[in-house]
């Protein structure tokens, strides 16, 4: 997944200059994705070379001209195709906790079980923060992106829940393995 389609998606709603693009990006997906201006401008450069985006210069008093970016018909095509295609790549399993599990001493399950407990607490706290955020969302303005933000927080909650369930399974299997050895 690249920044490319997010920028095309934003420009499909209207022409913007770089600063506005960044603000719109933050409002729409900032909850889980942060970008700096460098990444935005280098992506816009590339999109222009590919003919998906174009720009106009707007004169400003006492300041250099600024560029107003707009999406081209080719850009709209590319965006529409991307939107209609399901995501083939599933989430990576390369979780840092998993790497720790690989390198921990399996002959000392107590240390692993203690780590699992601490990890679960972190996930529960994370879920509590997402929940608080979700509750706060209900009192905020801007109903346009309310639903997507809420669904995104739900995704975070479901993933954390799955992680907790997986940790519980790790715990059970590790205990069962330890018992079988005796």
């Amino acid at each position: 997944m690249s920044i490319k389609y997010a920028l095309l998606g934003i420009l499909a709603e209207g022409d913007l200059h770089g600063y506005e693009l960044k603000a719109s990006f933050d409002a729409k997906v900032g909850e889980f994705w942060s970008l700096n201006y460098g990444q935005i401008y280098s992506t816009l450069d590339r999109l222009e070379k590919e003919g998906l985006v174009t720009h106009d210069r707007q004169a400003q008093e006492k300041r250099p001209d600024r560029k107003i970016f707009s999406i081209t018909p080719e850009g709209r095509n590319e965006l529409a195709q991307w939107l209609a295609t399901p995501v083939a790549k599933v989430r990576a399993l390369r979780d840092e906790f998993f790497v720790k599990l690989v390198f921990m001493d399996k002959n000392h399950p107590a240390a692993i079980l203690a780590l699992i407990d601490k990890q679960k607490v972190l996930y529960l706290r994370h879920m509590n923060r997402l929940t608080q955020r979700k509750i706060a969302l209900k009192t905020e303005a801007d109903p346009g992106d309310l639903l997507t933000t809420e669904l995104l927080l739900d995704a975070g909650l479901f993933h954390a829940e799955a992680d907790i369930k997986w940790l519980t399974l790790c715990e059970a299997k590790m205990k069962a393995g330890g018992d079988n050895k005796e």
């Binding site: 607490v121 529960l124 608080q132 829940e161």
Partner: protein
């Protein structure tokens, strides 16, 4: 608010004594929203029953608002429970022939209060749980989420010191569950002390403290939320 001191609950299983809870020490403060988690058979429901006077400890002590729930007669326990504890169960436990307002008011009607007086209070509680338009409906005319809202209103009718909920959304889909948790969270924000048994981390995340039980004893007690940020 609720305090357990060395509280145990054992059952006779044939010749064997089995402990559902062992020597639990626990203090729950006013205004807390505590979630109790743990695998099945870990003693979650037993603990909730001791807190609410639905059961008594085999050993140890349980206090609700400073009043002992142990070593008293069944009649005394029933009175304490009716006046100070609100219960919400997984299967709603509403009476099918009564309307929502009658179900909600039932605990006070059983106390002998006149219906005219009970009705006003029941209606205002139904309004509080978002069912102002449903007061005259019977359970079979309500959705699962609505039935649980009625059950929550009924649990609040006697202004209980604590609201105890045992897997309150175990029978509801995730969207409806979320609405019930938001309702509970809203009540807690207004000061209602809540203790909820759940196996669902998403539910537990609405509380501000999570107690995990294993084999009849607490193994983890964490504060979450603002104060722990």
């Amino acid at each position: 608010m609720i305090e357990l001191r060395q509280a145990s609950r054992k059952y006779q299983q044939g010749a064997r004594e089995v402990y559902a809870l062992r020597q639990v020490n626990l203090l729950i403060n006013r205004g807390e929203f505590l979630s109790i988690m743990g695998p099945s058979g870990s003693g979650k429901s037993t603990l909730l029953h001791l807190m609410g006077g639905l059961d008594q400890p085999s050993e140890g002590e349980v206090f609700l608002d400073g009043k002992p729930l142990h070593g008293i007669t069944d009649n005394e326990l029933t009175l304490l429970r009716r006046r100070h504890v609100g219960y919400v169960f997984q299967f709603f436990n509403l009476l099918p022939l009564l309307t929502a307002v009658e179900n909600v008011g039932l605990p006070l009607l059983l106390e002998g209060l006149p219906f005219s007086q009970v009705k006003l209070k029941a209606e205002s509680l139904l309004q509080k749980v978002g069912l102002a338009e449903r007061t005259g409906h019977r359970p079979d005319q309500l959705s699962g989420g609505e039935m649980q809202r009625v059950a929550i209103a009924r649990a609040l009718i006697a202004n209980p010191a604590v609201l105890l909920a045992d897997e309150p959304t175990g029978n509801l889909d995730s969207h409806t569950s979320e609405e019930i948790f938001l309702l509970l969270k809203g009540l807690n924000d207004q000061g209602q002390t809540i203790v909820m048994v759940t196996h669902d981390p998403k539910a537990a995340a609405y509380g501000n403290r999570i107690l995990t039980l294993k084999d009849g004893a607490p193994v983890q007690d964490i504060a979450i939320g603002e104060q722990a940020a």
